[in-house]
Subunit: 346 residues, 4 copies
Amino acid sequence: MSKPADLPPMQYRFLGRSGLQVSVISLGGWLTYGGHVDKEGTKACMKAAYDSGVNFFDTAEAYAGGESEIVMGEAIKEFGWKRNDLVISTKIYWGAAFGDNPVNNKGLSRKHIIEGMNQCLERLGLEYVDVVYAHRPDRHTPMEETVRAFNHLIETDKAFYWGTSEWSADEIMSAWRVADRLGLIGPIVEQPNYNMLDRQKVDGEYRHLYREIGLGTTVFSPLKQGILTGKYKDGIPEGSRFSQTQVDFIKGFLKSTGTDKFQGWVDTANNLLPVAERLGVKLSALALAWVIKNENVSSAITGASSVEQVYENVRALSVLEKLTPEVLEEIEGILANKPADIIARF
Amino acid sequence: MSKPADLPPMQYRFLGRSGLQVSVISLGGWLTYGGHVDKEGTKACMKAAYDSGVNFFDTAEAYAGGESEIVMGEAIKEFGWKRNDLVISTKIYWGAAFGDNPVNNKGLSRKHIIEGMNQCLERLGLEYVDVVYAHRPDRHTPMEETVRAFNHLIETDKAFYWGTSEWSADEIMSAWRVADRLGLIGPIVEQPNYNMLDRQKVDGEYRHLYREIGLGTTVFSPLKQGILTGKYKDGIPEGSRFSQTQVDFIKGFLKSTGTDKFQGWVDTANNLLPVAERLGVKLSALALAWVIKNENVSSAITGASSVEQVYENVRALSVLEKLTPEVLEEIEGILANKPADIIARF
Amino acid sequence: MSKPADLPPMQYRFLGRSGLQVSVISLGGWLTYGGHVDKEGTKACMKAAYDSGVNFFDTAEAYAGGESEIVMGEAIKEFGWKRNDLVISTKIYWGAAFGDNPVNNKGLSRKHIIEGMNQCLERLGLEYVDVVYAHRPDRHTPMEETVRAFNHLIETDKAFYWGTSEWSADEIMSAWRVADRLGLIGPIVEQPNYNMLDRQKVDGEYRHLYREIGLGTTVFSPLKQGILTGKYKDGIPEGSRFSQTQVDFIKGFLKSTGTDKFQGWVDTANNLLPVAERLGVKLSALALAWVIKNENVSSAITGASSVEQVYENVRALSVLEKLTPEVLEEIEGILANKPADIIARF
Amino acid sequence: MSKPADLPPMQYRFLGRSGLQVSVISLGGWLTYGGHVDKEGTKACMKAAYDSGVNFFDTAEAYAGGESEIVMGEAIKEFGWKRNDLVISTKIYWGAAFGDNPVNNKGLSRKHIIEGMNQCLERLGLEYVDVVYAHRPDRHTPMEETVRAFNHLIETDKAFYWGTSEWSADEIMSAWRVADRLGLIGPIVEQPNYNMLDRQKVDGEYRHLYREIGLGTTVFSPLKQGILTGKYKDGIPEGSRFSQTQVDFIKGFLKSTGTDKFQGWVDTANNLLPVAERLGVKLSALALAWVIKNENVSSAITGASSVEQVYENVRALSVLEKLTPEVLEEIEGILANKPADIIARF
């Protein structure tokens, strides 16, 4: 399938207060590559993304037990893409496929950060990644050990930048405090969950960090696991419309969030449908564009199981201009979940 | 001999204020591997320990003139254990088998730390160890040179952490003072002698360091060279019950400590026997469990000449729950050697 | 063509406040090597320069899309020159021949500085350069990232020094501020445009930097794209006297500067002709000598399409002694463009 | 020639405030190895020294245009000595055999320090030296550049320590000031001229540095080019008693110092002869022992053209005990050149 003629041009943003530019739409391997999407499907999606101007590909040691890195690395090699055209990121914390005694194969100790990174690079078949994330905070390891170890990866040319994923604002500032004291490099980017339904972090907790440290964000789940595509508008899926994988995923999801909460999200998505229809766009495109419209978002990491889905995601860029102040205000009214300023100024 | 069904599960602790986790029972090569325990015996013990959940193996350049590292390294390679499942430590100070003019093949100069480490890694057949210890303080080499050199090992990916062995509390703090001034990494762990009969360091001198620098300890001789197994309860061994190696060792031991002192230790061990009997455990298990019960002990480094001994040591874990406050108080009464607080507060 | 007997001996200067010595006349690859001057021509020019005592050869990743580095590197290899006899510089910013998605293949991000440098060295066939320049300021990348990345090149033995090209004085000082704060190395040299007609930077803006940070300068266009050779004295070239490349260049030049400004420069050059005639030297030699006479100039980077041109440039050295205070004052009168002191002292 | 039975045991000293130990008598390649002493002679001398307990061998890039390093490196390799038994030093400043344009092949720029060191190691056939000296101060290169470059050699495992040779006391302190400011390593040792006739540096100028920075010294010319062997007692050599090389050397020496000064030195040597005779030792042994008796001397670097000369030098150790306070005072009376305290305390 060749690149459709109607794709809007890709846009790029600096990754926080760094000199690295990432496409505002990026492709991630979570829940897809190395897993239920097979090798050929993965490569096709990556090629479609690359051809659409996506330069940023995200994976993690923990995705599909390391298989995500393997298959994404193979694609990069096979297509012969130039390394400097790509921004590749991976994440360390959870470990990959475990050994006999994985007690140290997890977390943010110096041991796991260095051993984990070496294994990531071997699976990816690369000499370095552009960004390495701490996939979670490690509240057992002293922050200084973690900050030093990520800096060691940078000093030994295994990564150019480091960031965090699902850290609290104060943990990010704690890392910068250590980095400043030791003359080291702090984390430039956080990878949180962000979409119309989950705004506490990006629109709330991290608010001061954009100004203080110039934090960049590469957000995941911009479509809230598909809820913001509208595909659950008639209720929770059962039967043949969905693959077994999806059904299993939703079951687990429901279990952790509760059916009431899920239904509330579906209701909000249903309330957004008329807006999308009026603008003449799909709900998924509206939801993704809304994420990117936020200038504190450096890139929205999208998942895609098919080439068509990749192109659909890229098409969201053409919705950006339709998000006028009036439309955004209307959406705020529907979402009704804007985090309040924590501190009022008198 | 396959793993017995009755072994309790291994427990792990962070190595002081670091992110590295070590099994509370570890296996050391001192006085055994590369020496009177042959290669096959060494491998059998290491495998039994590994199968029991031991992840921490300790050796030193000086153990059996370097042979301990060689044989332990061979075992690691032969069993194909994953490097990230293991915590390997070695120690530098005494040098290994000496050259023609070993004047610089000892101590904590930059020369010996770097040359010694390169030789350790070659003997071990490893690219790095997890922890490298300064096997003694070197009162001739400036502390700054030593601290810089151990940091150099860490920067050049030859070790993840460094520690000390048989340093005084003020020497450890002196190393941290230099490290803090230069923005370097201080020693995270001390390896002292610790058992029911030798408590001055762990329960006394180092007391403030647990809080101040989060010092971890990996203690050796938890059974006081066998005295706490009760095997000397009928007096100093002679004749066929003991191997020649053991007899020689005891002779040397007696010579350095004096027969009176030795007898005092044996008396204490004899006084502890009724407690062990009442709890239904061996004295050795009681003594080892007592060491581990101390939360300032990260790991007790045990020696073992046979697979059975390895399992015996691990079984001490099941004694932990029997060490109630009352039992511990009773033991304190028998030991009567608890170090006093140096500074009284008025 | 063997080295003419009448060439004056080369002179060398320290590159600013560094220990590196460069020939006051150097050879640059801009607009020539890898472009309209073919491989044999390039080698002949480089050999003539080397034989004349030129030790400093300047190129950039962007010159002829990387071809300049390739052909100059080939010459160095072919002639078997000793690496320590040479001072080789290149520049990073613009990228070389681009990939499919060159968004990060430009600028002064850590990614482009490291990736770009690795590519430069591969094209040059060298393990390191002596000086790497930031070919322009990058106002999007934080200064700290840029300063750290150039220091990383120095720490990893890919360059001995770093400098800037066409940075403002305050940007240079900003780099030093970051370097001082982090204990890193600041840029020792700036590569600006400098000739009788363009003096704002070297004789004005940078004035305080010579004293404050000991800035060195390696200046380009000492003959103002040929205007100071007097070759345009009869007007803008048309027809057969000039190659098509030159005609195209001049056309572009005129377009960007405007015909009036160009004519003003030609007038000044014409006014200088009598001085040159009286001294018995060519105008080009006078102009080049005037540049070198400035002690704040470490080296004048000359371009040459032919061996004869190389020798002509070197001959300018013999004009230095004719630039007496009286002659220099007479020239100031003609140029009438000496930058004023910005700050008057009361 | 096997090691004589009467050789006294070697003594070792710490090299200033470092953890490195050097034999108090060491062997240097200056004016001998790679020059008028051939390869076999060099190896024989080195072996005799090694067998006598000498562990410290000194050379320089400039000795015999690099040939000294080559031949000394060959000996080390041929004898199969263990690297950790040896302390090898070389010096950088003068460059070795020059290229076509050696302007940067000299001095203490970052370029020459790194390029020069790489060439030294290649000639020596070693991966690192123990000590690298700055063979002279470089008053054109900023001290910070020099201090950073020597630290770079240490960080990249090419040397363990660095020192200076013929620097002034204030230049050494200036290097430490830079090192302290940047958290780097300062020079631990100075290599000056020192013997009974040349005491200004070691007994005068450096006096405060032993206490302030713990400066070590490895002194050269302990016998003042043979004057303190008494071989010129009958006047300046002519004719067959001396080799042509020696005659040429003396002629050059006389030219630079003047015949009067030379005669003064010979007179002093003649006045010392009765002391040597009374003690029953050769004048050369007395002179060498007098140098070593000074505790601020870490090692006396001796030259030797023959195995016998090596042993003669080592025998000086047995004179140490004869240098009683009374004898030393008598010698002071003859020398009459003790540097005065510069600052009197009121």
